[in-house]
């Protein structure tokens, strides 16, 4: 694929980000929950800390968590905050809704069982969701982020070195598709379709 990235003229605004999240939560029947005030997330943070899987503070402040159709976010949608700028909130929206796609595809029992009990399956599920990060970055910049850096985040998910290596390879293979303009994740397809219909600037005419 050559030419200007399709989303090159896109500049996120708080209104756009809020409207996109409203659109996606409406499509999937999901609900955004403030992570900091969710008792169940505090309990989960405590348990993860005790198990040595994840630092409780990092879990609460840096990570968005999706459980079923509830998306626990460590930021206020549409308000840039710390590492979660407006663009990152759009990427998070696609990433977390891809987990909902996985839930719909595999069913609750299989998805939850595999995600919780097998670190290799967890790495595979996360690598698939991280493909949304690649797809959206390419849509906006024409460049694909480093698969290795994305896969390395899985060390925080209790994944082994072998799991991280597999996730990296999965993202490298995905990058082959993304560089040709292919979008595999359904959540990314929905986000990109919405952005192209509602949020591109006046330069949209004549994009590659």
């Amino acid at each position: 694929m050559s030419g200007r990235p399709r989303g090159a003229s896109f500049e996120p605004t708080p209104e756009t980000v809020r409207a996109l999240w409203r659109h996606m939560t409406g499509l999937y029947g999901t609900r955004v929950v403030d992570k900091a005030s969710a008792v169940e997330m505090r309990l989960a943070a405590f348990a993860l800390g005790k198990m040595g899987v994840l630092d409780p503070e990092a879990f609460m402040r840096r990570y968005t968590t999706t459980v079923g159709r509830r998306i626990y976010v460590p930021f206020e949608v549409g308000r840039p905050w710390r590492s979660h700028d407006l663009w990152s909130q759009i990427v998070v929206c696609a990433h977390e809704h891809q987990h909902v796609e996985q839930l719909l595809r595999d069913g609750w029992l299989r998805f939850a069982g595999r995600y919780l009990l097998s670190s290799a399956a967890r790495a595979a599920y996360e690598a698939e969701a991280y493909r949304s990060n690649l797809e959206l970055a390419f849509w906006r910049t024409g460049e694909v982020p480093d698969p290795g850096r994305l896969a390395a985040r899985l060390r925080d998910y209790g994944c082994t070195d072998a799991d991280v290596a597999m996730a990296r390879r999965m993202l490298e293979l995905s990058a082959e598709t993304v560089r040709r303009g292919g979008v595999a994740n359904r959540a990314s397809q929905k986000v990109i379709a919405w952005l192209e219909a509602h949020a591109l600037g006046p330069e949209r005419e004549g994009i590659a």
Binding site: A120, A121, A123, D163, M166, R169, T177, G181, G182, A184
Partner: protein
């Protein structure tokens, strides 16, 4: 009957331990790109039937330039074990 049940339970347990592929090996399985995990089980990477491209054409699972497998536009599929 009891022996049959025991045999089935044993076979089911053992089948979870059998390595069916080599770690990091990739393949096309119909429209799916798959990769072998450390435990010797196939994990799905992506479904090429789901891929949407800029020109709206079909995508297929094909051998990729780096020796793995990936979803590529059908016209770029260079043969090999693509399905």
């Amino acid at each position: 009957m009891r022996e049959v049940m025991l045999a089935l339970a044993l076979a089911s347990t053992l089948s979870g331990c059998v390595h069916v592929c080599r770690a990091m090996q990739t393949r096309c399985n119909g429209p799916y790109v798959e990769i072998c995990d450390e435990g010797g089980r196939w994990q799905r990477v992506m479904n090429c039937d789901d891929v949407q491209g800029p020109d709206g054409g079909p995508w297929m699972c094909c051998p990729s330039a780096d020796g793995g497998h990936a979803c590529l536009p059908a016209g770029e599929c260079g043969g090999g074990d693509a399905r």
